[in-house]
Amino acid sequence: MGQYAIRRVLIAIPTMLGVTIVAFLMIHLIPGNIVQVMLGTRTNVTPQQIQQLYRLYGIDQPLYLQYWHWLSQLLRGNLGFSLRTGLPIATLISQSFGVTAELALGALVVAVVVAVPLGMVAALYQNSPWDYLARGVALLGLIIPNFWLGTMLVMVTSIYFPVLSVFNYVPFLTNPMVNVKDMIVPIITLALSLMAIITRMTRSAVLETIQLDHVRTARAKGLKQFAVNMRHVLRNSLIPITTIVGLQFGYLLGGAIVVENVFSLPGMGRLIVDAINQRDYPVVQSSILFVSAIFVLVNLVVDISYGFINPQIRYQ
């Protein structure tokens, strides 16, 4: 097991380095360079001052040296500074990431809590109304864009549940009740597509498991139907379900970035989009790098924990 974990970590390191390279190169796609963007249309700058700025940002150096300096700063936790506000980007991210994480985790919990029982009931009572409901959820979650769903939910809640349709973000620690109330609609919005995937996965996993011999044996030895379902069917279906949940969590981060913008929540998505609109490229670069790093990390943890759950995978 230890060996497997180490191997996974070793594979993740070059990927992570590659991610930093892409993020680094991203900023070189912009028209002109960072100093020109910063100066904008200002004309009261002497060439000497421009040279100084170039030196400050290291733009006069060869690309690989720039990358090296940038990376070494990164590893010390220095993500650079905002061009517009001068604030350290690490501070901006630490203020925003909590919202994104809360949204993603909340959506994960809601999706699992709804989808696993729904998928299971759908499989156990095939072609029942529950099954049709489950299939409906699975289909809708696949085709409805979450930003549109968010808009629709805002419209509906503002008519029927006006309390829920105010989105002034309050941190959880400041006022948990208000925070939860304000996050319900965004979380449901983000959860639907994951719900669809988990429902579909649970349904097909359970359908496969109930055909297995050990389930028939359990039933034959006189176990109650409920006990068979919980102890033998559900437990054996959990492996594919946990995998899909883990793998999708990273994608929830991406979804959260869009959903935040629907509800104007001050998370990573707002940070990135606002930075783009202000042409604050370093903030965009570091934020994307940060979220992607979390994504790689989450996938790594999922991979390793999957090895724990399913011993077969370790020996492949």
């Binding site: 991610v19 085709i143 597509s193 991406g254 970035i257």
Partner: protein
């Protein structure tokens, strides 16, 4: 999953239900029907409809009023016209970007299957691109190259090239071990000829199916980018852009926020059902 994941052609076994063959056919018909309907809408739009920017004297007419089936927006422009033109823009972007991604991705996948050194190098690059959440990578590219139709196409292409490289590489490697490849080689055929005249023909169905699934994703990504204000910019109409401008008026003119979303969902549904049904129908398995 809407928007978040890049869908693969997976090796999910086709359903073991013997009756299910009929359902697959239904899927092909339904998916094909929706896709056909949408394609026709996009194609005939300029022939039968007015220019999407054509204004009228009826501001914010609700659906059905004054002969506007889906109402009008704050400039008196027909929402139906704009949605049909929006479908056209969205389809153009998705087809071109997925076409580019499909072409380059497949070529890379094929060469990766034939040459181990190239494989090692290029697939590491692809792994890195796949290490980004799709929407985030697209947002990052848009942030740097600026808004506009061409930028959206660039962003979606880059996001999807690794998918096609992976999807074509695995079956191509399998094909390369087949006897006919050996036979070709002994006849003196070049690697390029073997790859494109023979291997490609044998893995073609997988790529076609992946194209259909990827287009449904591309429609969603375009919509998301434009919705965030990073993609297609007004006055050009794309489905995401319509949704963005409709959202600000959602309490006075809810139809402007509702219908573009329905159009997106319908388009995504069509390409998804078609891709899924085609996969089950031909029982193609990736990898």
């Amino acid at each position: 999953m809407a928007l978040l994941t890049r869908k693969y052609v997976t090796n999910e076994a086709p359903s073991s239900n013997p009756k299910s063959r009929h359902r697959f056919d239904a899927g092909l018909w339904i998916g094909g029907g929706i896709v056909g309907f949408i394609l026709i809408l996009g194609l005939v739009a300029p022939l039968v409809l007015r220019h999407p920017d054509a204004m009228s004297a009826f501001y914010l007419a609700s659906p059905g009023q004054h002969g506007f089936l889906l109402g009008t927006d704050q400039y008196g422009r027909s929402e139906l016209t704009r949605i049909v033109w929006g479908i056209r823009t969205s389809l153009e972007i998705s087809f071109v970007s997925i076409g580019i991604a499909g072409f380059f991705g497949t070529v890379m996948g094929l060469f990766a299957a034939a040459n181990r050194t190239f494989d090692m190098g290029i697939m590491r690059v692809m792994d890195v691109l796949l290490a980004f959440p799709a929407i985030l990578l697209a947002i990052g590219i848009m942030a740097m190259v600026g808004p506009g139709v061409i930028s959206v196409i660039e962003a979606i292409s880059v996001v999807y090239i690794p998918i096609f490289a992976r999807v074509s590489r695995a079956p191509a490697i399998e094909q390369m071990t087949k006897e006919y490849v050996e036979a070709e080689r002994s006849l003196g055929a070049s690697t390029v000829r073997i790859l494109f005249r023979h291997v490609l023909v044998n893995i073609w169905p997988i790529i076609i199916i992946q194209l259909s699934l990827a287009i449904s994703d591309a429609i969603l990504i375009e919509a998301a980018l434009s919705y965030l204000g990073l993609g297609v910019v007004p006055p050009a109409a794309s489905l995401g852009e319509l949704l963005r401008s409709g959202q600000s008026l959602m309490f006075t003119a809810p139809w402007l926020a509702i219908f573009p979303g329905v159009a997106i969902a319908l388009a995504v549904l069509g390409f998804n059902v078609l891709g899924d049904a085609a996969r089950d129908h031909s029982a193609v398995r990736g990898k």
